[in-house]
């Protein structure tokens, strides 16, 4: 029998999980807009940032728990920005002008390297991440139990989208980033330092990833490979939403997570084990019907 409360809960949980996919998807879109490649190391970089946040946060924890958590988040954000910028400047910059496939393979290499390094330093065991609340905490509105984690995650991603929008539409740096993404050779002729903008783009993407990493770690604990599945969902969201559309990626991420939850619960032969296939069936159908993604621009060449 259809239970409306379960239905609402599935949707709310889907929005929360979808928000994690969305944060990672936004990071991928940001790098893709600036460089034209997909960064497969985005999830790994996010996990590494979360480890740094945890380690530094734990140092402060004895002084005051909240202080420790806040310092950890800030440290993760700053370190991830630096990590993104350094990876762009010293790794990806060397591949500029080479075949896009080569660049993508370089990011796969980075993913392996980062995951391995994290495992070496922090082991492959799950480590709890100190956070403001317990992952199991929830409150009720009527019959619907809403997890505090879900609400926090959803609101955080909404806030991040607002900040990104303000950055891109309202600041000079945003103007420069968009100009470089649009036509980097032409942007340089207007005096924009393209290299610096690419570093900033990678840095910002890494910060987005770090925040997603911390939110996931707060729920399921930290593990070097914890983002591998998330990356797969985020890629599906990016491709369904359109590689050049941040809003498309977010909407697709939410859609995928909700649909996956609903299908897992209401379609008996899918169930919990098969639900990971749902986004890919969706991906397949959408790419057949609209190769540029739901929100993407069709590339029209004007002669």
């Amino acid at each position: 029998m259809f239970n409306f409360t379960t239905f609402i809960q599935l949707i709310i949980d889907g929005l929360a999980t979808g928000s994690i996919y969305a944060a990672l998807a936004l990071a991928i879109v940001l790098v893709n807009q600036a460089t034209g490649i997909i960064n497969f190391a985005q999830g790994g970089m996010a996990v590494l940032s979360a480890y740094f946040g945890m380690t530094i946060g734990n140092l402060m924890l004895p002084i005051h728990p909240i202080l420790g958590i806040v310092v950890g988040i800030i440290a993760a954000a700053i370190i991830s920005y630096g990590m993104g910028a350094i990876i762009e400047r010293f790794v990806m910059r060397r591949f500029i002008g080479s075949h896009p496939d080569t660049q993508v393979v370089a990011t796969v290499g980075l993913l392996t390297l980062i995951t391995g390094a994290a495992g070496l330093i922090w082991t492959y065991n799950y480590i709890p991440y100190p956070f403001f609340f317990d992952a199991g905490e929830s409150f009720r509105i009527g019959n619907v139990a809403i997890s505090v984690w879900s609400l926090t995650t959803f609101l955080t991603i909404l806030a991040l989208m607002g900040v990104l929008q303000a950055l891109f539409r309202g600041t000079k740096m945003g103007l420069g980033l968009r100009a470089v993404a649009d036509n980097s050779a032409s942007a340089a002729l207007s005096g924009i330092n393209v290299g610096r903008m690419l570093m900033a783009g990678w840095g910002l993407a890494a910060v987005l990833g770090a925040i997603a990493g911390i939110l996931v770690a707060a729920k399921i604990q930290l593990q070097p490979g914890m983002f591998d599945t998330f990356l797969v969902y985020a890629l599906a969201a990016v491709i369904i939403g359109g590689l050049d559309s941040p809003i498309g990626a977010v909407v697709a991420a939410w859609g995928i997570a909700i649909l996956e939850n609903l299908a897992g619960t209401y379609v008996p032969w899918i169930g919990h084990d098969m639900k990971i296939a749902v986004p890919f069936v969706l991906l397949f159908v959408i790419l057949l019907l609209r190769p540029q993604g739901l929100f993407g621009r069709k590339v029209v060449v004007r002669v």
Binding site: A187, L189, G191
Partner: protein
């Protein structure tokens, strides 16, 4: 003693990878002057401009601008020194609006009031752009894109405007409109210009002198009047 030119190229070569395209180009643009570069296809006109703006490798020769050696500098560094290059094919930003394109042009400026004043001035000069201020660059016609490219370069308040075939692909009447606007810009701002143009008649409507390139070498320099009086030039570039 003659005044030092604003821009001076001495025996400049340029190469794409191992392929040398320019061999020996020398030219100079005086402060406030306008100089044309004439030549057949493949003579190295576009490459000469690219050598100046730092978008092609320059293995030898000297490029001095306003007292500084700019050879080997990055395009953004050259732009910061006061050279605005309107590249071949216009190079507008296709997914940004006309207004955003103009703001990107003014990227190195921070005088908000001055920027708004200049946008207004340019929109008066190019009324088509005013009508399309919210359109994306890619939605403009070829003529409008060319106007936008020139306007965007001018937004940088450069000392030297470098134009690569502003008439390329435009209907003759549109090309004339673009040139009329460029002439007006020059008259009202006193900005120096270096113009590559296939159509010498159009070029002569704004330049004072010109350099002729042949297979990567500058072979002849003269004032507009001298070149118009030269039989070979008239035959080759002015349609008899």
């Amino acid at each position: 003693m003659p005044e030092t030119p604003l821009l001076e190229l001495t025996e400049v070569s340029a190469a794409y990878g191992p392929v040398k395209v320019l061999h020996d180009v020398s030219l100079s643009v005086p402060s406030g002057g306008a100089v044309g570069i004439l030549g057949a296809n493949g003579a190295g006109k576009t490459t000469t401009l690219r050598a100046i703006s730092g978008t092609v490798r320059v293995p030898s020769g000297a490029i001095r601008f306003n007292g500084t050696d700019i050879r080997g500098k990055r395009p953004d560094q050259v732009a910061a020194l006061g050279i605005a290059h309107v590249p071949e094919g216009r190079g507008t930003l296709p997914n940004m609006t006309v207004r955003e394109n103009l703001l990107v042009g003014a990227y190195l400026r921070s005088d908000r009031d001055g920027i708004e004043r200049d946008i207004d001035y340019l929109l008066d000069l190019f009324p088509n752009l005013r009508r399309r201020i919210r359109s994306n660059g890619s939605a403009l016609s070829g003529g409008e894109q060319q106007m936008l490219a020139v306007a965007r370069a001018f937004m940088a308040k450069p000392k030297l405007l470098v134009l690569d075939e502003p008439s390329l692909g435009l209907a003759p009447s549109t090309a004339q409109d673009v040139y009329a606007a460029i002439a007006k810009l020059r008259a009202e701002s006193g900005i120096a210009m270096l113009v590559v143009e296939q159509n010498a008649n159009l070029a002569f409507s704004i330049v004072d002198s010109a350099v002729v390139l042949e297979t990567g070498r500058s072979v002849l320099t003269g004032t507009t009047a001298e070149l118009k009086g030269n039989d070979e030039i008239r035959k080759a570039y002015l349609g008899g």
